[in-house]
Amino acid sequence: MRSRIAFALAALALAATACTSQNAALQQHQEKLESLGSSTAAIADAWLGGNTSDRYTRTALEQIYRLIEQERARLAATPDALASSRGAHLSETAERLSRLVAVMIHDVGRGDAPAVRQRVTQIPIRPQS
């Protein structure tokens, strides 16, 4: 009896540890994506304010795009992360952010400031505060 209780407690502890570790990992992904959302806004604002060139802005947005894709790949690296609703939501948000940045790169190339301004308001993930 005692050994069964000990086994059950150990299993519970392991499950709790795994859950905590997964939550921490998802939190890290979320923070990274929030930072990339903020970076997109900061790069776009600098361009809209006339402070940065089209060339730099496109290069910087392409780099942000690459970083989002890397984060998406890391998020999808383990099935457990995507199986949770939070993980799935993050993955979808990352995909939307990725698509938005891709469109923004084209808008900057065309010099379409109103479109870029509009995209900034549509950034799907930003820090809470």
């Binding site: 990992a25 900061a42 910087a60 780099q63």
Partner: protein, 404 residues
């Protein structure tokens, strides 16, 4: 008069040559993620570096030997093979990271992929090494490096709270992400106290024929130049903390880091950031390559010297050329330059005891430094700090890269 001119030039070029890929990336990340909280790490690392550099110059001026040559002579080639190998490994990684950083700087201005610039930048570094003597390399690149003072100007213009900055010089525990905080502290130390600087500085002292009567010049150059250089790193951290921190931008690329100068320099922000990064990284790449030539030549007893005609120091020339080629090949593998930089500077702290501890033994050996020995307390503190840093690095590097 000449000594004072040498001193001024030495201090100015030390300031210009202080900042490179490692210090820009670690300070920018630390500022964006933890505000001013890691200023103490830059201050501590700067003091340790100033002490070590002064000692290496003293060793060279008194014994007429560089650090590598003295270690080889005192401990023998079998022992010297260990720090030599460790330093070679780190120098090659750092050199690849610096070339990558310079390539990203050109990419920021041209929008052409950084990989395309790696070979041209490597070739340019080799041409500088081939064509210029020590003074041309040291002073030329150091003076150009004064562009990095733009970070100090930016920090000044942003008007940080003096009380907050003063408080940040006292180490404090972070309110979030303790592993990341510790990793950045270790990386800042590794970026600042690069072991290659010890041998580079002592070899430079020999190239410039420094002698015992100029020990005060060595002391003043090391302390003033490096402490003022540390202020440039702090400028990066403060600017990043004040501009990127509030926007919640965590620096993962140089493209993001360039935004920190926008509020102050407006349309000039990206060109100034690119110039600072490019010059800093290129200067460090040239110094690292030159030091590789020094270290190998001094370890194996070959003729060496940037002031010698290249045909008179053929093995020295071959050594720096080979190291440059290996680093270019590593940089071409496509590693992200910023990540490669962070990894390299953190590893630097791990190998630091292997390089620094034998050096501290030398600084207490009258055969080498005569009556100019270091104090036992100072050496003890330095040794303790270096060992503590290495232990911390061994713990936090796996946690940072494999989760913790």
């Amino acid at each position: 008069m000449s000594a004072i001119a040498d001193l001024l030039l030495g201090v100015i070029t030390s300031i210009g040559g202080f900042v490179e890929a490692g210090s820009i990336s670690t300070a920018a990340q630390a500022g964006s993620e933890f505000g001013f909280q890691l200023l103490w790490a830059i201050a501590a690392a700067t003091i340790v570096l100033a002490l070590l550099v002064e000692m290496s110059g003293r060793l060279a001026a008194v014994s007429r030997r560089s650090v590598a040559a003295a270690v080889r002579e005192r401990f023998g080639i079998h022992f010297h093979a260990v720090p030599l190998t460790a330093e070679f490994f780190i120098d090659v990684l750092l050199l690849a990271a610096e070339i990558g950083g310079a390539a990203v700087a050109v990419k920021l201005l041209t929008a052409i992929g950084f990989q395309w610039w790696i070979v041209p930048i490597g070739l340019l570094a080799w041409l500088v090494l081939w064509l210029l003597g020590f003074s041309g390399i040291e002073y030329g690149l150091g003076l150009l490096g004064l562009a990095t003072l733009s970070f100090v100007y930016a920090a000044w213009q942003l008007g940080p709270d003096v009380g907050d900055i003063r408080a940040a010089f006292v180490p404090s525990l972070p309110t979030h992400h303790p592993t990341r905080y510790a990793f950045l502290a270790v990386s800042i130390v590794g970026a600042t106290v690069s072991p290659y600087l010890l041998n580079f500085y002592s070899s430079g002292a020999i190239e410039e024929d420094m002698n015992e009567s100029e020990l005060w010049v060595n002391r003043a150059t090391a302390y003033l130049g490096i402490c003022f250089g540390g202020i440039v790193s702090m400028g990066v951290l403060v600017t990043s903390a004040m501009v990127l921190g509030p926007k919640h931008v965590i620096v993962d690329s140089y493209e993001q880091a360039a935004l920190m100068l926008v509020p102050v320099f407006k349309t000039w922000a990206v060109p100034i950031f690119a110039a600072s990064l490019g010059i800093g990284c290129f200067g460090a790449a040239v110094e690292l390559s030159l030091n590789a030539g020094y270290v190998f030549s001094q370890a194996f007893g070959w003729a060496w010297g940037a002031n010698k005609p290249r045909r008179d120091a053929a093995r020295f020339t071959t050594a720096f050329t080979c190291v440059l080629v290996v680093s270019i090949l590593i940089a071409l593998l496509g590693f992200d330059p910023l990540r490669l930089t962070l990894f390299s500077v953190a590893l630097t702290v791990v190998i630091m005891p292997i390089v620094v501890l034998p050096f501290l033994v030398l600084m207490n050996d009258e055969d080498f430094v005569k009556q100019h020995k270091s104090t036992a307390i100072g050496d003890g503190v330095l040794a303790a700090l270096v060992i503590l840093g290495a232990i911390m690095a061994v713990v936090v590097i796996p946690l940072e890269y494999f989760g913790g």
